[in-house]
């Protein structure tokens, strides 16, 4: 939608260039750069939030300082910037026995996997890079790119720990995509569309019309999706691919400096993507919770980002509460608990919609 809008805008401004390649590239580059800037700023904010929330949960104070230039700035506000500078200035090591080409490719690939999901994320009523008619399907599809990147990283490092991490992530992410997809199928059944914007428009009219409150089975579907999303983004309690107490750092063991930063950044970008999908599918997207009150395109961005921030906070909260699962427990939860519940939900919602709804 934004690309189309920019394209028509530039066509009006520069009539001599209509339908030429430079115009199309300009219209695509602007959302690209804007999205990359958004991810960077968002990652800095979430890193700070994670440091502070984790410290408060453990009765600590987190990064602190007395002012600009002292320690980490007032309340440690400069800590994420210091972290980023540290990662930028670190030595970039490639192990001599590693597969050089694949080792270099893996961090970019995992970031691309997270980055291209942003194409279909609705930030507001008119702010979406491209309003795909298969938006939710597209996001689920490109989300699987992370598996390939993680296996690449694990295998090309030529390290036992990395390989274990890569193998675990393959088993984990492929398994958990099934409950995630099944719980989103229920949303698609109700909304009758795969388009992200139309799913949100279906939930117009206040908190009671959100899909999560549509019928008694939807909260269960939401929880199933949320747990699967945690597993797909490799967050604790499902951080088996990089479990630092058993595998040193899993698939990122051999990475350092900027390449490590890309894994870090894509983890946080993935958190944002799954949270936006959960907000779109269950919590009304950019719709205000008070029906028509406070519902404008500008407020839509606020509602979208605040709901997403809430879900990201819950993810951080869970990370500092629940310990890591064992591999067999992980598979048990996926195949024996989430999958039957998800399948049951499809039938239950179908019958509910036909009989009552």
């Amino acid at each position: 939608m934004t690309v189309d809008f920019l394209f028509t805008l530039f066509s009006d401004l520069f009539p001599s260039l209509v339908n030429s390649d430079p115009l199309l590239m300009m219209a695509m580059l602007i959302p690209l750069v804007a999205t990359f800037g958004f991810i960077t700023i968002y990652a800095l904010v979430v890193i700070y939030a994670e440091l502070k929330v984790s410290s408060f949960i453990q009765d600590k104070v987190g990064p602190m300082g007395q002012g600009f230039g002292l320690h980490a700035g007032k309340f440690g506000l400069l800590q994420p910037i210091a972290d980023a500078l540290k990662l930028l200035s670190k030595e970039d090591i490639i192990p001599s026995s590693a597969n050089r080409a694949l080792f270099i490719l893996a961090p970019f690939m995992i970031f691309v996997g997270a980055f291209i999901s942003f194409v279909a994320l609705p930030f507001g009523e008119f702010i979406i890079v491209s309003d795909l008619n298969i938006g939710i399907f597209y996001i689920l599809g490109v989300g699987s790119l992370a598996v390939i990147a993680i296996i690449l990283a694990g295998w090309s490092s030529n390290n036992k720990w990395s390989l274990y991490g890569g193998m675990r992530s393959a088993a984990q992410i492929i398994s958990y995509e099934i409950p995630a997809g099944i719980s989103l199928i229920v949303v698609i059944m109700l909304a009758g569309t795969l388009n992200m914007q139309e799913i949100i428009i279906y939930q117009a009219g206040g908190i009671a019309n959100w899909i999560i409150f549509d019928n008694p089975f939807m909260p269960i579907a939401f929880i199933v999706y949320f747990i699967s999303a945690l597993a797909e983004t490799n967050r604790t309690p499902f951080d088996l691919p990089e479990s630092e107490s058993e595998l040193v750092a899993g698939f990122v063991t051999e990475y350092s400096g900027m390449r490590y930063a890309f894994f870090f950044l894509s983890e946080y970008a993935n958190m944002f993507v799954v949270s936006v999908v959960a907000v779109t599918g269950f919590l009304g997207g950019w719709q205000s919770p008070f029906a028509s009150a406070l519902n404008s395109p500008a407020m839509g961005v606020f509602w979208m980002l605040s709901k997403t921030a809430l879900l990201i906070f819950v993810m951080i909260w869970i990370r500092w509460t629940v310990p890591r699962l064992r591999v067999d427990q992980l598979m048990h939860i996926c195949w024996k608990v989430l999958l039957p519940i998800g399948l049951f939900n499809i039938f239950a919602v179908a019958i509910w919609t036909v009989v009552i709804g």
């Binding site: 408060f56 949960i57 009765d59 600590k60 104070v61 909260w317 509460t321």
Partner: protein, 193 residues
């Protein structure tokens, strides 16, 4: 079948219970936190009872401090030190008893004693100090003392003096430039004569 649902129920309720506990810690973090922002905040010193009013007795064991304006360079503290952590070097004053503009140290102490010697080096290695307090008693001018306690009017208490480098624990009290100023003064005097 019953075990299966019991397991799901137990895990769901225990995770929610745990999250409740962590959330309570999160919102009460300001009150519950035990972190001390060390250089800015310090633990209060405990009140102690040694059987008598210690404000009247020089019994505190902290960092040594020297008030160089009063020091006459008599070396009594250096001789008293059982671990030899005090090093003093003195030079004879060229004009005994008179005030000299270039060298502030030669003058009259607060007790009225005329300073006959210029102290060019007064180093105390606090990493060697055994805090026996023996150096403070022989001092005729009462210019070497331990900070705080009964001396807190002269110098606030300093019992931590943590330093990033061990060499910083050697405290140099002699005022900088004293030796050079003295040499310059002597050379000027000899040139006049």
């Amino acid at each position: 079948m019953k075990n299966y649902f019991n397991g799901i129920w137990t895990s769901a309720t225990t995770i929610l219970g745990g999250m409740g506990i962590t959330f309570m810690h999160l919102i009460r973090a300001r009150k519950d936190n035990v972190t001390l922002q060390y250089p800015e905040e310090r633990w209060p010193r405990p009140e102690r009872n040694i059987g008598f009013d210690h404000d009247n007795y020089n019994v505190i064991r902290t960092r040594l401090h020297v008030d160089m304006d009063d020091c006459i360079g008599c070396l009594k503290c250096e001789r008293a030190c059982p671990v030899d952590c005090i090093k003093i070097v003195t030079e004879k004053s060229p004009d005994r008893g008179n005030d000299i503009k270039d060298i502030k140290h030669v003058g009259i102490t607060s007790n009225g004693t005329k300073k006959a010697l210029v102290v060019t080096r007064f180093d105390i290695d606090m990493s060697e100090c055994c805090y026996c307090n023996l150096c403070t008693y022989p001092c005729p001018e009462e210019c070497i003392f331990m900070t705080g306690g009964p001396n807190s009017k002269k110098h606030p208490i300093d019992y931590e003096f943590s330093e990033p480098d061990r060499d910083n624990l050697i405290y140099k009290f002699a005022k900088s430039g004293t030796k050079e100023g003295l040499d310059k003064f002597i050379s000027e005097k000899s040139a006049e004569a």
